[in-house]
Symmetry: C2
Subunit: 227 residues, 2 copies
């Protein structure tokens, strides 16, 4: 997971081009990284992304200033513009890395399981665990609303969709009652899962608790047996 990301993000090409590459690896298939001369590797791009992720996740995109991020990584504000040409591109890079990491984690978590219901259960728990586990990158994908960055809104939405596609595929394999709308089912489920980030606080429930209960509500009736 980490290594995968590093290969992509630390490519020493211009920022704009670099982001295009990330996008390609995500949406398309592969990229012929011809400029793989492995130059500077101890750059501060990753610390910068980490710092930005932390602040974006905690305070929100708009609420985080470039000066905040610069201070977080021990850098002057202007220096960041050597690596990223704008705040939006920085968000795009962070968001991209987040989606890649989450997809990788989720896919490897469900890979071994065959039973579709078990698969969904594992996916739910993994998802909840990830977004609740103080993982800055995970919190971003849930918390940052693409509309807040109009110029890259499409890219962000497309990436988030590519993550949700995993859930679409899982639910597609589940036998559900006739006439049950699978889209609505998924939207309800993900809405419930993502909202955990708002009300969750350690102590009351664990992510596993939440995952188990949620799936129980859906899989079995919440109504007690008649009479």
């Amino acid at each position: 997971m980490e290594s995968l990301i590093k290969v992509v993000t630390s490519t020493p090409v211009k920022t704009v081009q670099k982001l295009k590459i990330i996008r390609m690896t995500l949406t398309e298939t592969l990229v012929t990284d011809s400029s793989s001369k492995t130059r500077r590797s101890h750059s501060r791009i990753q610390p910068l992304l980490n710092g930005a992720a932390k602040l974006f996740a905690t305070k929100g995109y708009k609420e985080t200033t470039m000066r905040d991020i610069a201070a977080e990584v021990g850098m002057l504000p202007g220096s960041m513009y050597y690596h990223f040409k704008s705040k939006q591109e920085l968000l795009l890079a962070v968001y991209t890395q987040a989606v890649i990491a989450l997809k990788t984690k989720l896919e490897s978590a469900i890979a071994l399981e065959q039973d579709p219901w078990k698969k969904l259960e594992i996916a739910i728990i993994t998802h909840v665990e990830t977004i609740l586990d103080q993982n800055d990158f995970a919190r971003i994908m849930i918390g940052v609303i693409p509309e807040k960055a109009p110029e890259i809104q499409q890219e962000l939405t497309a990436m988030r969709d590519s993550y949700e596609q995993i859930f679409i595929d899982i639910i597609d394999d589940i036998p559900l009652k006739k006439g049950l709308n699978k889209t609505l089912f998924r939207l309800m489920l993900l809405g419930a899962l993502n909202s955990t980030q708002i009300w969750f606080h350690k102590g009351a429930f664990t992510p596993v608790d939440i995952g188990h209960e949620f799936i129980r509500y859906l899989k079995t009736s919440v109504v007690p047996a008649e009479q």
Copy 2:
């Protein structure tokens, strides 16, 4: 609903004091509005609240500037400070009005119903309809995250809680399976309902569809009958 609000908000007292009164009517019981000399009634406080509500709901709190709101209601930025001493107080007033309106609407919707499940169903549909019906005030209570306005965060959260209390009470009367955690049940439900605001777009489903389906997923099992 409208009249209730007007009585409170158009009271010609200083803004700070006025907001206190609103808060009292919400959290406490009643207020002895001794200064009810019915002075200025055609003030522009309500248009101001409406404009602010519209922009806060559409663009977000932080993304909306005082100049935006001023332009929306045809006023100069500084003029607003005669009515509200700060942006946060303006949000507080809008949020307060929103909660009052939503609570009133929801309470009167479920008042006639006796059966707890029917009550929940009506509450769900009413809630979804309200937040999807382009109602600016409703969208604010869901979309504006209290943390974004630190100085009034407590007040906002308290008000939202007072709304959710209605759902707590309804669910409390519902007989659910043994060992089923009602808090988690409610959080899941409200999380799912509120997320509709993100993905809903006219055409695919109606609020009533969504309400019916969601309650169906929970009330009955989504798994088809065995064999």
